[in-house]
């Protein structure tokens, strides 16, 4: 054990990827002219530098737009630099709020039971039964201009009930464990048992929920954007993809238009996934193989 246990190759790799995306957002404007992510700021339909698609009538690639441009005159590099962190932000806001609220309510319902638990469960069940699309569209018609934050909050409205339910079920099963009884015998309050005894054991599952939820919410945002109901001036990966779909990018052979944003989505997802696996191994000592032999 010469290396501290939290230094885990997967965790480090995943964090590096996510950090890279965050840094893109923070430093992007210094390394690249991100105003080129706006409509009509560049020549249209340029292929990435070094590529010359044989089939269609594209202008020659320019070094000024190394990843090419799309058909509304947005520079793809600028779109990626601003859009990737933006998408991550929307997903994180929605997933973060959803997981936190869902976990709190699920733990409460599972551990306290009674009418509080019933109320929480009825509420979450009712929200689950409602098709979110209806509500999202209705609410989005009230918001003057949809910002990244309001988009994240909107999506968070529907991110919590699922978590509530699964955490509730988990809590029911965990709370009969011996260590919960021990904690009770040690005079721990209900709240402290929920937070210090149950929560850590839910962590691997919650981390997985979070990873899934971040990408799920990015996709949900993409769906809203594809329906034309997202923020239109702030670039996100979803906006880039839905523009590509609307602009027949595949048929036109403009792979850079749809392929690059998807590559960035995969990057975000992989980063979060690595972090999840890494966290599991750090947080759940039994998974550490080197130590497992002591058993």
């Amino acid at each position: 054990m010469s290396v501290p246990s939290w230094i885990n190759a997967k965790l480090v790799a995943g964090s590096t990827v996510i950090l890279f995306v965050v840094m893109l957002g923070l430093l992007g404007p210094w390394i690249w002219d991100t105003t080129q992510a706006r409509v009509a700021s560049c020549p249209l339909n340029l292929p990435p530098y070094g590529f010359s698609p044989p089939n269609l009538t594209f202008q020659p690639a320019q070094l000024a737009h190394p990843l090419g441009t799309e058909s509304s005159g947005r520079d793809m590099l600028a779109v990626l630099i601003t859009g990737t962190p933006n998408s991550l932000l929307v997903g994180t806001i929605a997933a973060g709020i959803g997981i936190v609220i869902g976990t709190l309510l699920g733990l409460t319902a599972g551990f306290m039971g009674g009418w509080v638990g019933t109320l929480i469960r009825v509420m979450s069940d009712a929200i689950i039964t409602i098709p979110s699309l209806v509500v999202l569209i209705v609410i989005s018609s009230y918001v003057r201009e949809i910002s990244l934050t309001s988009m994240g909050l909107l999506l968070a409205l529907f991110a919590w009930p699922g978590t509530t339910r699964t955490v509730y079920a988990q809590t029911l099963s965990l709370r009969e464990r011996g260590y919960v009884q021990m904690a009770r015998l040690s005079g721990a309050s209900t709240l402290s048992i929920m937070v210090f005894e149950l929560l850590p054991n839910l962590m691997p599952y919650l981390a997985a929920c979070f990873t899934a939820s971040v990408s799920g919410n990015i996709l949900a945002a993409t769906g809203l954007e594809a329906l034309g109901l997202g923020p239109s001036r702030i670039p996100t990966l979803g906006m880039a993809i839905s523009n590509a779909v609307r602009g027949a990018a595949i048929l036109r052979g403009m792979w850079w238009w749809w392929g690059l944003p998807i590559a960035m989505l995969i990057l975000i997802f992989s980063g979060l996934f690595l972090i999840t696996i890494g966290l599991d191994e750090v947080a759940n000592p039994r998974l550490r193989r080197s130590e497992g032999n002591a058993r």
């Binding site: 409509v39 249209l44 339909n45 269609l56 509304s72 201009e145 034309g228 602009g247 027949a248 403009m254």
Partner: protein, 590 residues
Amino acid sequence: MKPVGIAIKRFVFIGLLLSVAGCSLHAPKSDYDRRETVVFDLETRVLAPNMWNPYVPGARLEHGFHQCMIEPLFILNTETGIIEPWLGLSMTSNETLDVWTLALRPEVKWNDGVPFTADDVVFTINLLLKNAPSLLFSGPMKQWVARAEKVDALTVLFHLTKPNPRFKLDYWSVKIANSVTILPEHIWKDKDPLTFKNYEPGKGWPVFTGPYKLDRFSETSFSYRRDDGWWGAKAGWKPLPAPKMLEWVWQGTEEMRTAAMVDGSVDSLCDITLGAYQALEHFRGDVMAWTDGPPYVWLDPCPRALEFNCGHPPWDDKEMRWAMNYCINRDVIVAVAYEGTSMPSKHFFPAYPPLERFTRILEQNGAYDRFPVWEYNPDKAREILESKGYTRNRYGYFEKDGKELSVTVTTHEAAIELQRVAQVVVEQLQTAGINASHRSEAGGTWMDNGSLGNFDARVGWMACGSVSEPWSSMDTFNASWMMPDGKRAQYNIWRWKNEAYSALVSDMGRMPLGDPRIDDLYWRAMEIWLDELPGIPLTQARKLLPFAQDHWKNWPSKENPYSHPCTWWQSTCKMIHEIKPVAPDPGKAP
């Protein structure tokens, strides 16, 4: 263990399915020949496919219904401005424009063999009058028609409530999209027109006069089979149309629609972007559009504009509207939003040949020297704004009394073209120091917000209406339509009130079509309009409509403008008669 066992079985099952599907790649044999079929593109899915009543609110017409089953009385050719007779022979008015006489083509028969007569016309009008305002067209009929009177089997007199010089043009001539449908009395006479579906295959319903009969349909595709007993062929008026089958199929997104045409499974497409058309040309050389070279497009009668609510400060000030106008560079909009396939517009009329004369009147009178609508001049905009007391704040936006000059431009969620326009407009306003933003609203909401005046600015199809004469569009600015915010306005949703303009337009509306006095009234009204600029005209509405030529030829084009090319209009009934099969390749066996 159990669910896993099922899982494995599922895997195996799906694997088998996949391999079976992979083996049988050839489309199953159909009972009709693709070479004798014309397949049209359907822009949206039809959610109520078994509804063949053209008058109920849920009715849809553009899936072939009014193209090949319902025939119009007359058809306006937007290219020539000529109204061509179809089921009708003539329709003329008296001097005072309040009695119109319709003469019907004598040889017309419903497709069940019953003759089409003045009784059917009178029956239809009475049906609409009785059920006003719930049925389509019943509102306008109630408004205009006092009484329809049968003179003889082929002649009907319309007694109007007040003079209307456009009675024939607006309602009976497929001016835009469709016209009033005549119903067969012998089928409809005892039915409740609000709930009657008019569909019963066993009885041969729906019954109309068109050369095709309904064959089969689903929510996504509609097939019609040629009725070889069609009255027109029997009477020798026109030969039978060449296609044995017509189909309208919903293909989904632009990408899919275009791919379907590359694939050869569709012969005509509704509007696509330039990029998709280029891809189409790349994959198959034989496609054609309205024009041979760029911009390829046909212009739709509803030009695009940036519309303000002229009742909302600061947009109630015409100078502010002019300032906005100077911020907008229409060439960039055309270049970016349309990829060069449209043209800027200086007014709210479509650039159709019959209207060119009116556009020329404006130019001859030097209107655009005095009112430089096309001028992109941010400096002038700045001057105006500064003269109004606006100053730039630290974010670079204009501000007055601590309030930032901002505007939200709304668009219809389904109108991608207008969203692209709005995005460019917003960027241009932002560059000029106006904090503009853009939002798409759900269709119903957008329409409602429009008529209630619940908007600041929107990109819409302002003043749609004129095709061959200028009054229809001009009247949409008439103060007589004016409603306060929160009350539903039919027209003039922009809440622009100008008495002088309204008086001039009202005068125009009472004159017969083609009256020489109209020109002067027109010019005086337009002078006011341009000075006030209640909305900012942006571009013409273009439609890029590709046709495939591997199975069918003689599609309409700018060189061959026998009809407009939009296949969702009722005027397509003419196109159907004109297209011809490409001669079968003699080398190939049939």
